[in-house]
């Protein structure tokens, strides 16, 4: 562990000596997982034993609407490494792994700047490969698919060892907390990605900034429909989400502003087709459910009113099933598109599936 010590020390960070102190730090600063689920870090840490653990920093950022992790790693990799080093040291990690999508710019940065004692794991650049159990599964078996195991990684993960898996930003927060530079949850700095019809913008802001403020900070379209929380997020009308503080919203801090000429239901149809395409294809809900609702949504765009009933019947039976949250996320997206339908939005011949969704889809594998 001398390497860990040296690395943490080199950025002037006080070293925590054990798991309890690490958990206390995470509790005191209310550090939540920043990969989208918002799971309290302290609870993950407390579930781990005092030694013999594996620490994985998930640097994949597979969602095409988000670039916050790439920005953290591109701008200040040392802060991130010191957070990972801190956790690895406190948890007496036997392996410390930076998991990254192969062939991305994040991988290039990690390979040239990460401390030598951290392993860099290049996983296939597939959307589902970066899910926590998929990372463990890939390390253990070579299959980059969600494992669907009822055993949590914190109980038995990589090589059967209790494994901590968390997002880049979570480790950045940990490093800031250890230096006494992490503000209270409301005042905390965070990065959100705002996607307009042809570009993505990463905006730095305080967690209590409203969505509207963040959207305004991003120059671009003035559309009224906002997709919040990534490609498996939900549609919101700008008026209903605008006044909410970004830090309180679940899911990825990512906002797609739909331009006025595009239709949210049409975009949803395109996105569902892509979400279906990139599934691991190993459970019923993804093999049968996603193609079905993707077709239904396309039919709804084309004016088939019976498709609405089919979706209403199918969505509840898909949600919550399968080895991972992939189908559940797709259902959430589809359900929020149906809410727009319920408000009276009807697709015309102009509603097509081209637009921002197709540009994002190109980045989705």
């Amino acid at each position: 562990m001398t390497a860990t010590l040296a690395s943490s020390d080199s950025v002037g960070m006080p070293l925590l000596v054990n798991r309890t102190q690490l958990a206390e730090l995470a509790t005191r600063h209310r550090i939540l997982g920043r990969g989208g689920a918002g799971f309290p870090l302290a609870r993950k840490i407390s579930a781990l034993p005092k030694r013999g653990t594996v620490v994985i920093a998930n640097c994949c950022e597979g969602d095409p609407t988000s670039r916050k992790d790439a920005t953290y790693i591109g701008n200040s990799p040392e802060l991130f490494y010191s957070g990972v080093g801190l956790a690895a040291h406190a948890l007496r990690a036997r392996r410390t792994i930076l998991a990254v999508h192969a062939g991305t710019t994040i991988e290039t940065t990690l390979r040239s700047t990460a401390p030598a004692w951290m392993e860099i794991l290049a996983v296939p650049a597939l959307y589902v490969a970066s899910e926590a159990t998929a990372l463990v599964n890939y390390l253990n078996t070579g299959l980059a698919r969600p494992a669907g195991s009822i055993t949590l990684p914190t109980t038995a993960g990589v090589d059967g060892a209790p494994t901590l898996i968390s997002n880049v930003e979570t480790f950045v927060h940990l490093a800031q907390a250890a230096r006494g530079e992490l503000d209270t949850p409301g005042r905390r700095q965070m990065l959100s990605t705002v996607t307009t019809s042809n570009r993505r913008q990463v905006i730095a802001h305080r967690a209590d900034s409203t969505v509207e403020r963040v959207l305004r900070a991003a120059a671009g379209d003035e559309g009224e429909w906002i997709l919040a929380g990534g490609i498996t997020g939900r549609w919101f009308h700008r008026a209903e989400i605008g006044s909410l503080p970004v830090g309180t919203l679940p899911g990825l801090p990512s906002y797609v502003i739909l331009d006025r000429d595009s239709c949210p239901i049409g975009q949803t149809a395109r996105m569902l087709a892509d979400i279906s395409r990139v599934s691991a294809g190993q459970c019923g809900p993804c093999i049968f459910g996603l193609p079905a609702i993707s077709t239904d949504m396309r039919d709804l765009v084309r004016g088939d009113s019976r498709a609405y009933a089919r979706l209403r019947r199918r969505l509840p039976v898909i949600a919550g099933r399968g080895a991972c949250a992939h189908p559940t996320g797709a259902v959430g997206l589809a359900a929020s598109a149906l809410e727009i339908y319920d408000r009276g939005h009807r697709c015309s011949a102009r509603c097509d599936t081209a637009g921002v969704a197709s540009r994002l889809a190109r980045r989705l594998r």
Binding site: Y72, G74, N75, F80, Q176, Q189
Partner: protein
């Protein structure tokens, strides 16, 4: 090949190396500017490595030819050890110091993952000295080149360019002074394409 031809070649290679070194420094500085998206940053950093690489190649040519050359007497030892050149001892020594520094910086970057971040960073900060030392070396070695317009052009381009790059690198700091970290001080744009 006549000795004079090698001598001309060496001077030319030195001038080109100095120009490339200035560009490498500028690109490196811009690659560290806070408001750069990750994609562009990776691209700029690759450019930085490429310019440094080509610059090193020209410096190698410059050194090799000056040692082989018989017009002035510079021993192979003088390539790495300062003040051992018979010809223009002090000014050649400056070139030697720059080469030693460049070797240290390059090796530290190649083994960056094995170094403490602070070690790498301080070594890399010394790269600021390379262009000035190289330029003074060029002015000092007793030649007629430094007063040529094209050589003055290289000096001016390098000095002004590096100053502009330093401004780009550090100017955004004041705007974002309330942010505690560079990571959180970012806001950048990235094209999604058509």
């Amino acid at each position: 090949m006549s000795s004079l031809l090698i001598w001309y070649f060496s001077r030319a290679a030195g001038a080109v190396a100095l120009l490339l070194l200035a560009i490498a420094t500028m690109v490196g500085l811009i690659g560290a500017a806070p408001r750069l998206g990750p994609e562009r940053r990776a691209l700029v950093q690759r450019l930085h490595r490429s310019f440094t690489g080509i610059s090193i190649a020209f410096i190698a040519l410059h050194i090799l030819t000056v040692v082989v050359d018989t017009y002035v007497s510079v021993s192979p030892l003088a390539v790495l050890v300062p003040f051992t050149s018979a010809y223009s001892t002090f000014w050649v020594a400056l070139g030697t110091v720059a080469v030693d520094l460049l070797i240290a910086i390059t090796l530290s970057s190649l083994m960056r993952r094995k170094l403490k971040h602070a070690t790498w960073r301080y070594l890399h900060l010394s790269a600021y000295a390379l262009f000035p030392i190289g330029a003074i070396h060029a002015i000092g070695v007793n030649g007629s080149d430094p007063s040529q317009p094209w050589m003055l052009g290289i000096f001016g381009f390098g000095a002004v360019g590096i100053l502009i790059a330093v401004t780009i690198r550090y100017a955004q700091r004041s705007k974002t002074a309330d942010f505690r970290h560079r990571a959180a001080a970012t806001a950048h744009f990235e094209d999604l394409g058509r």
